[in-house]
Symmetry: C2
Subunit: 682 residues, 2 copies
């Protein structure tokens, strides 16, 4: 391993000069060398991922459960990182100091983009090398050098941190949105939003305050370098939990769907929340950085920032998702699945880019774009495109996830800007655990006050236990490592991520057993398939196609105006926690808008707009209704059905046959409605 | 559109500074602006691609045939490029001249990687701006500035040329290899290799010589800037043909499979040949650049370079492909299709990276890796992985292709280093046409001397006509634009690509009709499906599973030792042009090795190694044979069968039901064997 100029990138920046001379040939050889080193770096990660894939297979084959695949990726990364660090040669990046031309005029307040560096003949060449000729070279701006002594920015096998936000995270987050089990997501929306929004903010605040307190007790040198905003930023970046590990185990063990939905929904949303939150903190910091104290107007502006950016990003994503749905509904592009898939991918990527261009958060836009794509567009796609997009994003997600965890391992040793401070690390571990506890237990208590089937205590413990930290925390921490405080944060975050992923991830299945959360392991595939047939015959028996009243509890008034066929599609009971009147009313309103306006407008679902819209809008409604919507029978219905649980049946079916009654008495219908969907998904 | 520092990349290089001050905030705002501009550039291309996809759909829907999708992408690119160029603001990249510190010591013969640029207070600020503080910034090396006056390197919506070789071309080339219809490829191997290897070299030499002659007749200013090596390089880069457009039309119109195979095989291979050839010319140029004259030893070294790099790259790719086959055969990773697909993608990418690390040509490695993956690994994959990898690379290929053609259009206006020289452009068009003619007609004549079913004249015309230039030519031309000569080459190449893709691509279907090359449009799907059943019953009637002797012409001696089941798998007749004894013997040898050693070793195909290897190697053979290989019946056979024509049935089935006898008398068996494969592929 040789060092790499600046940061290794996927794009192998180098410029080849063609007119050959002594220096040119040397330059060319150097460019070739750099290209080879870049390729070698990528090759190392590719081999590490290959190794991880093979080991995952061995583990799955031998049913090893004490270590999960992401933990494995981290451990491999650590090993290879150590090898690179201690065995690698120390070929340094070369430096030269330069000054502007004495008489240069310059009318900008920022440093120039390009420096034209004149290489004079008179420069002292130490030994018998070929002299550098009198030439001019272009140098492009990279950043400020804060610490002139620390000149060995010797980046080995490291990437530009922005890669995470622009290349690695978007497919992961999109896939999460695309795979969100919307039925259970909406049913537990209250709890999920509370944990993700309120909980994350609370956790960030608590961790930030406690860390600030801890830092004040530490040696003065460190204490001086942390402001309250720094520790608050640390709180924001360490708060989001990672869905990967625990959920993979959950779906293997077929845990209760509501618990699954809560953990998945929370961890997807709190990534988005934490990203926007940390952006707001940084904006605040930029504006009022003098002492780190609070200023009320700026604080309010930061909150406004947070709400504005989050909701605008959401809107951008949702808009693009709906636009894709409209295009796929009203054109016959589905006759050419390749074009359709390409359109789907391009539009989803456009959501990310549009948000970035508008200075919003692309990752948040991509999340909600994914949710809309799954909720609406997926219904319009040809079956070929459904498979293709599902499998494409599944693969991208897998590779991106494992890459990021491998990278966390490698960078522990190779990233030059680590700062190990034992006190800060210990404090970080303690406060992040405490922050998770403060997120879960008090909020669960409050939620249970208004929630009809309360969240049982063992579920709360599991929610607490599944607070692994992952990709988003790491990406936020490595984004900015200018100051010593930030470097200490990166180190602590890396360690917290590694420890939680390896230890908690490995222990998750044992925790499930210890907490006596029933898993569906014992049930066979036959028993899964059967109840579905029962349900369907039940539907057919009632003849309206609607589930009997005792099954569709709580939402009868909303359903009452619906045509039979749409009920199964979108209105199977949702919002189990509708004890709070206001929230339930909101959920009902949204459900009504969704099934009466959005679904008929954006998909081929029935009832068509001609039935749901008021009479004076009929001409418009007729325009927006496809012939397929009028004519489709049971076939079209089944098609619409399948959107609700897109990814439920892979890699191994998600819990469908646990009897939830013994566990969570209010949810009699859970099993039945899941079956109703997984069955039609095949 | 605002200009972009250096080159816009997918990775959005920018460094955020955190400690806020006046200049820092300005710097931060600038970084944000640059990020937004980068995102905007990507968004422009994303929107262009989306537009292209939608227009392709409209064209397919309305059955427009006078313009093909790649032509469309180019035209959209041209329009948007013009808009960007003439409507964009002219926000300039800022420059400053710099000199090294007076007493700096420096002991390298190349310029340093990083320049630490000290910003003094005393720098003259023109107007009432915030003064630049006394800070140090890092600047990284970008390249030599040749022309100090030409300081407006104002790159709008342009990417680093290396992106093409490292991001865009690999999936295109891999997909080509993965989709190569190996049966017809091997049958026409002689013609394909002749056209691709000899033809491309001949064409490069002829174009190079003619261009050199033309340049000498031109105004002295231009003539002086071209050496013979320059024009030879131009010959090498303009010689490779692009498979995309013509082949898409061919597969729509169901043209004769042998013509299809020849054009596809040639254009895939000549991309690889041209890439290595141009590399060899550049290496030669680097070594002996004084006068551009020839020197025998260097010339031989260049030929050695060419052969060595080509064959080593081939070996690397083939080795990785076989390694993947072995892993997928001997592990049960196919039980987890996601892992399997990830492994497949990672190994294929590793082939590219390994070749690049070894200073070979990654694109060539990836091509042969793709061929091996399709020939061996594909047989071992689970059906889920087959679909997934096929669809993944199909989508990547589609996006990459359309991106590159859109980019060719946009860069005509936005790339700053174009040099329009009418004489050079005219000469380029004439010589490239002539070069293609010299490739096809004399070589066809020579081939026909030893080829039993000769290549008919209308096929030769079609081969000539399908010499569109495409992605590889453009990528090679834009790689190096340092000198005026190279810039003139880029302009000419871009224009040749645009003209051939738009005009020839659009006229291809008319050319087919004019040349009376029969297309299979009239035949319905029923008539396609029927003959297959006939063939199968024919196979079953002979009871051994082997085709009757008159069908498997020419290869009886090779087949004689085979077990019945492997015949259909790999030994359906191959090498129709086996008039030349040597070539036929080589083809037979390869066929024997492939079916007796490689296929049984690398896949689950029968006969197992225990039957094909000599007795003293039995223990080893038993080790390398899976139980599935022993036990599989007809099912396993059909599985093996399907590898031969991986992509034949998409997007619309490739010619299978033309009666070749009326057209090409020697190929009675063509139809039958194709049916035997497409049928089992479903």
């Amino acid at each position: 391993m040789k060092p790499v100029i600046g940061s290794v990138s996927l794009l192998f920046y180098f410029v080849k000069s063609c007119r050959a001379s002594g220096a040119d040939i040397a330059l060319d050889a150097k460019a070739t060398l750099l290209h080879r080193i870049d390729s070698l770096n990528l090759l190392i990660y590719t081999c590490l991922l290959t190794l991880t894939v093979l080991t995952i297979w061995v583990f799955k084959h031998r049913r090893v459960s004490w270590l999960h695949e992401t933990g494995l990726a981290v451990i491999y990364g650590l090993i290879v990182g150590a090898i690179i660090r201690y065995a690698g040669s120390t070929n340094q990046v070369t430096y030269l100091d330069a000054h502007p031309e004495p008489n240069a005029k310059y009318n900008l307040s920022v440093p120039p983009d390009i420096v034209r560096f004149h290489f004079p003949d008179k420069i002292q060449i130490s030994s018998g090398e070929i002299p550098v000729p009198n030439k001019t070279y272009a140098y492009s701006f990279r950043g400020e050098i804060v610490n002139l002594e620390q000149n060995e920015i010797d980046l080995k096998a490291t990437f530009d941190p922005e890669i995470f936000f622009n290349i690695i995270l978007p497919p992961i987050i999109f896939h999460a949105g695309y795979c969100l089990k919307r039925k259970y997501f909406f049913r537990n929306l209250g709890a999920i939003l509370t944990f993700a929004m309120v909980g994350t903010a609370l956790s960030a605040l608590v961790i930030g305050s406690l860390m600030y307190g801890c830092v004040q007790l530490m040696p003065a040198s460190l204490a001086a370098s942390f402001t309250f905003l720094d520790t608050l930023y640390f709180g924001a970046l360490i708060s989001p939990t990672d869905p990967l590990t625990v959920l993979a185990i959950f779906s293997q063990l077929k845990v209760d769907v509501n618990l699954y939905a809560m953990i998945f929904g929370e961890s997807v949303l709190n990534d988005a929340v934490a990203l926007v939150l940390s952006g707001a903190i940084q904006n605040y910091e930029k504006r009022y950085s003098t002492d780190g104290g609070f200023e009320i107007t700026a604080f309010l502006a930061a909150i406004g920032d947070f709400i504005g950016i989050f909701s605008l990003s959401l809107l951008v994503g949702a808009f693009i998702g709906c636009l894709t749905a409209l295009i796929s509904k009203f054109t016959h592009v589905r006759d050419w699945p390749l074009l359709e898939s390409a359109l789907f991918v391009l539009m989803s990527y456009a959501a990310f880019l549009i948000a970035e261009v508008c200075e919003l958060t692309g990752v948040v836009a991509v999340l909600f774009c994914g949710i809309c794509q799954a909720h609406y567009t997926y219904n319009n796609l040809s079956s070929d495109s459904r498979n293709r997009t599902k499998q494409l994003f599944e693969l991208l997600n897998f590779l991106a996830e494992n890459f990021i965890f491998t990278y966390i391992g490698v960078s522990m040793f190779t990233f030059p800007k680590h700062h190990f401070d034992p006190w800060f690390i210990i404090a970080g571990f303690l406060t992040s655990t405490l922050g998770r506890a403060i997120n879960i237990y008090p909020l669960s208590f409050l939620l249970n006050l208004g929630r009809k089937p309360p969240i049982p205590m063992n579920f709360q413990h599991m929610l607490f236990f599944s607070g692994l930290r992952g990709a988003m925390s790491f990406a936020l921490a490595i984004r900015n490592t200018v100051s010593e405080a930030r470097q200490a944060m990166l180190t602590t975050t890396s360690l917290v991520v590694i420890a939680t992923v390896v230890l908690q991830g490995g222990a998750a299945s044992h925790a499930l057993a210890y907490l006596r959360i029933p898993t569906g392991q014992g049930q066979s595939d036959e028993s899964e398939a059967l109840p579905y047939r029962d349900v369907r015959s039940l539907y057919q028996a009632t003849d309206t196609g609607r589930p009997p009243a005792e099954i569709s509890f709580g939402l009868q008034n909303m359903d009452s105006t619906h045509s039979p066929s749409s009920d199964r599609a979108s209105d199977t009971p949702r919002g189990s926690g509708d004890g709070g009147g206001e929230k339930a009313r909101l959920a009902r309103l949204w459900g009504a808008i969704d099934s009466k306006l959005l679904k008929p407008l954006l998909t081929h679902a029935r009832p068509p707009l001609t039935e749901t819209l008021p009479a004076f809008l009929r001409p418009l409604a007729r325009l927006l209704t496809t012939t397929r919507q009028y004519t489709q029978g049971d076939n079209g219905l089944r098609r619409t059905d399948s959107d609700s649980d897109l990814c439920i049946d892979e890699p191994q079916p998600v819990p469908t046959t646990i009897d939830p009654q013994q566990l969570w008495p209010g949810l009699v219908d859970t099993r039945i409605s899941v079956e109703g969907i997984t069955g039609s998904n095949i």
